[in-house]
Every structure is written in C-alpha cells, then in structure tokens.
C-alpha cells in the first residue's frame, strides 16, 4: 500500500449535521501512516500461555498415571492370566462368535429395517400400521428380555413346522433343536435392531428433497422405481453414520447374549473365570477385545462415509465434507458415556 491516503465514507466518521447543503461536500479524513504500517507488519509469532490448561493437564495426567501404576502393579489382578488367555484358542473362538452375531444380526436388521421403512412409505394403511406396530413393540421390550424369550420359545411352541397349507408337504422339528443359543441370539439381536434400522431408514427417506420425487415422476418412474433408484440410494448418506453407530452398539450388545450362554466373548470369559477366579483379568481381556473391534469399526465407518459422500465433494454449494474426522469418530465411539443407542452428538 504505497499510497496511504485512505478515504472513509462520511457516514462512518462524522455525525450528521442536519444541513443538507453540507452533505454534498464529502468530508474526508486520512488514516495515519502508523496504523497502516501496523496493519502491514506480520503477527508476533509467540503464543499465549494458558496456565489453566497446564494445571488441569497435569492433574489429569497424574490421575491416569496413578491408575495405570495401580493396575499394572497389582498382583491380584492377574496379568499373567490376561496374557495367557488374551489370544488363546478358546478366547478367539468366542471372538469369532461375537463377530458372527454382530454381522449376521446387522444383516437381518438391515434387510428387515429397509423392508419396514418401505412398508411405512406404502399407501397401504395396513402395511404402514404394521411397520409402526413393529417398531413400537421391538423398541419397547428390553433386548435382554427378547434374548431370553427367543431362547425359551420351545416352552410355548415345542414343535416348529414349515409346509404348504392344505397339503401334507411339510418339514418339522423340535424347537429346542432348531433354536440354538446362536439362532436365538441372532433373531433377538437382528429383530430388535431392525426396529432401529427402520427408524434410521425412515429418517433418511424423509430427508430426500421433494423435488427429487417430482423429477422422478416427471420422467415416468413408478413409485417403486423411484424408491429403489432415487430415494434409497440418496438415503445412504444420511443412513450410514447412524448405522455405523448401531453396528458398534450391536457389537457391544452381543455381551448380553451371555445370559443364554451364547459362546461369545463374555460367555467364554465367564466360563474361564468360573474355574480360575481371575475375574477381573478375563473381563479385561473381553474389554480389550471390544476396544480393538470398536476402533477397527470406527476406522471402517470413516472411510465408508467418505466414499458415500463422494458425489457431494468438490461441489459448488460451499459445504465441505459432512464426514466427521477420524479422530472425532474414534473419540465418539469410544466414549464410555455413549453406550447403547448412539445419538450423533458431538462430544
């Protein structure tokens, strides 16, 4: 800025006199060279010191260190048991069952949830009422009650049969033989989760702008084609973040299956510590595995969201990616307070 004559508008500087004749002569003033030089000078690079932050940091670090030392040096905790069982054959089998329950359960939940959401969008009032009733029922009954109910189904239906009505063609078997703890767990987890998935998909459908539906109609797509080709693909962006949270919630909910002896991580741990009494060490084994699995899923969720968001990136609408950073994602999912139905809250 070589020419230092900056002229400010009259109204910013001078009070109006009320004389209209004077307003025609625009008064000017000059910005002092000292101010211009100040504006041109680079910032002082020294950062401010925040004593409050240092003190709280020190307190927190001390607390964590103390806890770590106490845990690490406690002979009763049984770190040798931790090391012995962490990657043991029997524990890994439990880990595999947990993973199977999670993914099969989520698969059931996703399929049933999308079907329920589609029913909710139907013009058939019976279908919409059914979808609403399903969500009401399966969200209202505690998951642990549903697990126990499925497991004990044989009490009310001792025989399960599938066949063609009015003919003698059918297959049947004892309920106790068919509903294994694993199947009971998958049904309970999947059908319970489906109610939440239905709500997530419903919210996703509601978020699709009305103009998209008008445009789909105008090119001659039917309602079903519109749902399949236009609406559902566009719900992905909205549906994937809460679904990731649900999946992680489901993973953790697998521990509930221990009430029916489902052979997953916690059941396995319980069986071991029932014999050797290293209760905390084995619970730590379970916790460590959950931490690892949750972290891996969080990372996967981050990259999945980036991929789904690809058509919105580089847009000229001014908004950046809506995907939270990997760090935030990890912090959110590992937050002990967010157990259960993870709402999408910032920490």
């Amino acid at each position: 800025m070589s020419e230092s004559q900056l002229v400010a508008a009259e109204s910013n500087v001078l009070p109006r006199t009320g004389h209209t004749t004077e307003a025609s002569v625009a008064p000017t003033y000059v910005v002092p060279d000292a101010v211009l030089a100040l504006a041109d000078r680079p910032l002082d690079p020294r950062r401010r010191i925040h004593p409050g932050r240092w003190i709280t940091s020190a307190v927190v670090i001390a607390l964590v260190a103390w806890l770590a030392v106490k845990l690490g040096t406690n002979p009763k905790l049984g770190w040798s048991a931790f090391a012995q069982f962490f990657a043991s054959r029997i524990m890994l089998d439990g880990l595999i069952v947990t993973l199977e329950l999670t993914f099969v359960g989520q698969l059931v939940a996703t399929v049933v949830g999308v079907v329920l959401a589609a029913c909710g969008e139907s013009r058939n009032p019976v279908l919409t009422a059914f979808a609403r009733g399903y969500v009401w029922f399966f969200r209202s009954v505690p998951l642990i009650v549903q697990i126990l109910t499925w497991y004990n189904l044989a009490i009310v239906f001792p025989v399960l049969a599938i066949g063609v009505p009015f003919t003698s063609l059918h297959l049947q078997g004892s309920t106790n033989a068919i509903i294994t703890p694993f199947l009971a767990a998958v049904l309970a987890l999947g059908l319970h989760e489906a109610a939440y998935m239905a709500e997530i998909v419903r919210a996703g459908i509601a978020a699709v702008p009305r103009g998209q539906l008008l445009a789909a109609s105008s090119i001659g797509l039917t309602r079903r084609q519109t749902l399949r080709r236009i609406v559902l693909p566009q719900t992905l962006r909205v549906v994937i973040p809460p679904t990731g949270n649900q999946l992680i919630g489901l993973l953790k909910a697998c521990a509930l299956v221990s009430v029916i002896g489902g052979d997953e991580l916690l059941t396995t741990a319980q069986r071991i510590y029932a014999v050797n009494y290293k209760t905390i060490a084995l619970l730590l084994v379970v916790s460590t595995w959950y931490l690892i699995l949750t972290s891996v899923l969080s990372v996967g969720q981050h990259y999945l969201e980036r991929w789904v968001d690809r058509d919105m990136r580089g847009g000229n609408r001014g908004e950046g990616s809506s995907v939270p950073s990997l760090g935030l994602r990890l912090r959110r999912n590992l937050n002990p307070l967010s157990f259960g139905r993870g709402e999408d809250s910032e920490l």
Binding site: P209, L214, S218, I219, L221, R223, R310, R317
Partner: protein, 273 residues
C-alpha cells in the same frame, strides 16, 4: 399402449374425432383448489404441434400448477387435459373418466418432458446417469444405447466435457441444461418449462435460454412459464396471460406483449418491464 383398447371405444364418432384432433395439448375447463384456496378456476388452453407458448402472470396466479396438471403431477378437481391423443391421468370407461393405473400414468408422464425451476437433478447420479436413467428404466433401452444417446444429448446442450460430473459440482446453468437433456432423452411429445431461469445467476441465464431457443427452432412443442418477457418476445408464438386462476388474455406474442387488450395485462407488463 395398454389404454388404447379403452380409448378406442368412444361413445360417439365426435369423441373419437376430438381425441385425435389437431391440438397437441388441450386443457379444458380445469379447476384446482388446495384446501380452501382456489388456484385455477376454469382454465382453457390449446397448443398446436410445434407451437411455443409462453405463460406469463403474477406470482401465485396458478401458472406452475397449470403445468403440473398437464403432466399429472397434480390431478384436476374438475376438467381434463389431453396430450398427444390421450386424456392424461384418466381413461374413459362407460362415458365417465376413471383414474388410470400407476404404470399407465407413468408412461404418459414420460412422454411429457418437464424442466423445473430448481433443476431437481438426481444428486447421487452423474450428468450422464441422470440423462440415461429414464430411457433405461422407463423405455427399457439397452444401457449402452441409452448412454450413447445421453452423450449425444449432453453434447447438444454444450456439456460434452461434464458427462461424469455430479450435480453438486455443476453450475446452475449447467444443471439446468442437464435437466433439459434428461427430459429430451425420453423423446417427449411436449416440453414443459417451469420458470427455467428463475433460480439462475443472471450471467447464467443466457446459456439456458439459448438451448431452449434452439429447441424451439427444431420444432418442439413447448409450454414455458417465464418471467423473462424479453425472452418470451423472442421465442414465443403465443403468449398466455394468467391472473387469479383464469386465462385473462391469450394470443399471438406480438399483440399481447405490445398491445394488450386487458387492463390487468397492461398493468402486469408495466410492472415487470
């Protein structure tokens, strides 16, 4: 066409003659209310094949509703719409109008191209996929052929270099040109434009108007709701002035825009120009 059997049973020879009469689009005594608000109160409109009609009028006068009635995005409370030899949304059974099946209405809509003020491009699809979707899913054109045709159409609207761009990365003018190509891909008998330049930045208006103009020159039948009086003067053969839910005045472009008969038309033109 599945409905021909029904439509080919007119009660009288006069009905059959009317069905195949010359006008490409005919709107007869259409009424439409939303709740207590009457939007259209007895609108009549007739558009010849290849004619370009501009509909002008104050906001809230029912122009957009009229367009949506023509492709049955809204259904009329009373009256009927005929496009390309078929009654839209209804078939004649025992001398009465009965609602058509969903598939049939979808087929009829596919023959009436519609361009929206807000473009409404499918945001999860690229420009090319937006244009090819209709032919593939509605006309059952093989995907390869549909994509080739989409490429040709997008070149025609000057977007050969943006085939694989998602809508969010296109400017408003580019999006609107894609949406015109999307409608054209279904080889419509008529094109409807609902204020196609109102949502555009001023410097983007001309590129869209140029495309519409070249379409007019190619002989496409078009009904255009617009605020651009200068454009209407340029492209329209017929101008229809709508106010208060009825057609106040309709006639050749020059006479309506330069020498309107009605006081309301005169006032409107004075206000917008």
């Amino acid at each position: 066409m599945s409905s021909d059997v029904v439509d080919a049973q007119p009660r009288s020879a006069a009905f059959g003659a009317w069905l195949s009469a010359a006008p490409m689009v005919e709107v007869i005594n259409v009424h439409k209310s939303f709740g207590q608000t009457s939007v259209l109160a007895g609108v009549n409109l007739s558009v010849r094949q290849g004619e370009v009609v501009c509909i002008i009028g104050p906001s809230g006068s029912g122009k957009s509703t009229l367009l949506r009635l023509i492709n049955h995005l809204e259904s009329p409370d009373r009256g009927l719409v005929r496009v390309a030899g078929e009654i839209i949304g209804y078939e004649v059974v025992n001398d009465r109008l009965r609602e058509r099946s969903e598939q049939d209405i979808a087929r009829q809509r596919s023959q009436i191209g519609m361009v929206f003020q807000e473009f409404n491009l499918f945001s999860h699809l690229t420009a090319l996929e937006n244009v090819a979707l209709g032919p593939i899913r509605v006309l059952r054109t093989p995907a390869g052929v549909a994509r080739d045709e989409a490429r040709t159409l997008l070149s025609r609207v000057g977007l050969r270099h943006r085939l694989h761009a998602y809508p969010a990365s296109l400017s408003g003018g580019e999006q609107q040109r894609v949406s015109i190509a999307r409608a054209l891909a279904l080889r419509p008998a008529v094109m409807l434009f609902d204020e196609p330049t109102s949502a555009l930045d001023p410097e983007r208006v001309d590129e869209v108007l140029e495309v519409i103009k070249s379409l007019a020159a190619s002989g496409m039948t078009m009904i255009i709701v617009t605020h651009e009086i200068a454009f209407a003067r340029d492209v329209a053969e017929t101008v229809v002035f709508i106010d208060g839910g009825t057609v106040v005045e309709a006639g050749p472009c020059r006479s309506i825009l330069t020498n309107p008969h009605h006081e309301r038309t005169r006032e409107f033109l004075k206000r917008v120009e």
